[in-house]
Amino acid sequence: MSSNIKCRIISKGKDSGNALVTKDPISFLGGVDPKTGIVIDKKHELYNECITDKILVIPSGKGSTVGSYVIYQMAKNNTAPRAIICQKAEPIIAIGAIISKIPMVDNPDVDIINTINTNDEITVDADNSTIVIN
């Protein structure tokens, strides 16, 4: 059985994949290695995990605005996540997702961090403001 969650579009597009969920906000500059897609921030819950091709489910972003460029570099290196779901978007990841053409949504009508589990199969349809848990 699948369930639909309404949300708000931040960056256009649609993609599916396995969720990777964290309760920690993420900084891409200094927090993720753009060559490998691996989280290198030792204090982060996802330390040593690879976010490549995942549906990244995070509360928010943080850190330097250069983080937007790091996401762009990840997209060029094919190490970026397939889509991003934020509880509340902030400019760094929003800009990064749009310039990298990664679908992104925020403001879901449920507490997304506790609704989606890591490895759930998720479809993010930003154009229709919908998240589908398959």
Binding site: V66, Y72, Q73, K76, I99, D106
Partner: protein, 399 residues
């Protein structure tokens, strides 16, 4: 969000892929901050220039964007990681400099003026009262909002650049007059004599207010150079984008007459708080092996002051005064450059002690008269800091 016909057309790609992408980003930013519309802007200041901070990721983005978009209004660039003409003499590597030049060329291809300074308001990018602009660089944001009275949010490098391309920014925050009033009052019970004390005041208050808008009562007009220092400090220990100084800055009266003013929390800043902060900003007892002034980039009157201090002296350690090429050129014309070079100092253009890879040079202790620099240098350059006035710093390194 309500878009005009022109904005809607840009969003839908009728003015090209580059502008459509910029509009998509700015509309999303507007949504994040609940903006009701876009507002036209008249100038921009773009940060994210040093190869040390943006790396290959930023270089890729800037070069790619240059292929599909151009800025449409007066847009200036923040400092780079090296002095473009004198990198070799200062000891920077060719590899770093080559990358840095690629980044600057990338910005130039978008139509950004390669001014490489954090004080664009000293070289002609000076908006008027109430003008809407999109500036990044926290110290410049603070100056243009507070001292000039133009209106900008604390943009990041990318959002300022994209706004310069479409000529619009989301209408929220500091763009709305009502949001520009003070929300905390600081009665400063201290007789300021120098810039290090003013910087310490900014550093102290920034820690307390974070992103609030402080209203200062100071017993005399600190002057433009010190207001530049004050704003830079407020924006580095906190995230201040706008402050008011009673009887000095242009919107202080509006703030004071606002209904909310009577109920604001009031804090008194005394001598002890300033002195403690001064001590806190110095990390070592050693004598600096480099004195680095010009954070934010020095004005011509600040350079004149240094020239007067070093005249007929011999410096025993290195002295850099960071500024723009434009101000360096005026210093040369006025004879200050010659005086400073004769004493053994240098005027360094295009870069500064925060964004240059100073950690690659052989320095251990840096002397600064900027609380902003004192805040960032220990982490970003791994150096010890002596925080003092320009006069005391010059005395420490002269015969």
């Amino acid at each position: 969000m309500q878009l005009t016909k022109y904005e809607e057309d840009m969003y839908n790609g009728e003015y090209g892929e580059g502008k459509a992408e910029c509009m998509e980003i700015l509309v999303s930013l507007g949504k994040i901050y609940d903006a009701e519309k876009m507002i036209p802007i008249t100038s921009a200041q773009v940060s994210g220039v040093s190869y040390k901070t943006i790396g290959d990721a930023g270089l890729d983005f800037v070069v790619d964007l240059g292929k599909k978009a151009d800025v449409t209004l007066e847009t200036m660039l923040n400092p780079a990681g090296v002095d473009i003409e004198n990198w070799q003499e200062l000891g920077f590597s060719k590899e770093f400099t080559d990358k840095q030049i690629d980044i600057i060329n990338g910005y130039e291809s978008i139509g950004v003026m390669s001014t490489c300074t954090c004080t664009p308001y000293l070289i002609g990018n000076t908006p008027m009262l109430n003008e809407h602009v999109a500036w990044s660089e926290s110290s410049a944001v603070c100056y243009v909002n507070s001292v000039i009275g133009a209106r900008t949010n604390r943009e990041g490098g990318p959002s300022a650049l994209l706004a310069a391309i479409v000529g619009r920014t989301p209408y929220y925050g500091n763009h709305i007059l009502e949001n520009r009033v003070a929300d905390m009052i600081f009665n400063v019970d201290y007789d300021f004599v120098n810039e290090a004390e003013i910087g310490a005041l900014g550093y102290y208050v920034g820690q307390i207010v974070n992103d609030k808008k402080p209203y200062f009562r100071i017993n005399k007009n600190p002057g433009r150079n010190n207001l530049k220092t004050l704003g830079a400090a407020l924006a580095s220990s906190g995230a201040v984008s706008l402050y008011h100084v009673e009887n000095v800055t242009p919107e202080a009266d509006y703030s004071r007459c606002h209904d909310s003013f009577e109920e604001l929390e009031t804090v008194t800043v005394d001598k002890n708080m300033i002195e403690e902060t001064l001590e806190q900003l110095t990390t070592t007892d050693k004598i600096p092996d480099l004195v680095c002034l010009g954070c934010p980039h020095a004005s011509i009157s600040e350079i004149q002051e240094v020239a007067n201090l070093v005249k007929d002296k011999k410096l025993t350690k290195d002295l850099w005064i960071c500024t723009s090429k434009a101000i360096k050129s005026i210093s040369k014309q006025c004879g200050y450059l010659d005086i400073i070079e004769k004493a053994g100092g240098k005027i360094v253009s295009d870069t500064c002690m925060v964004v240059a890879p100073i950690e690659e040079l052989d320095y251990e202790v840096i002397g600064v008269n900027s609380a902003k620099a004192a805040n960032y240098v220990p982490n970003m350059c791994k150096l010890d800091v002596v925080y003092d006035t320009v006069e005391n710093l010059i005395n420490m390194i002269s015969e």
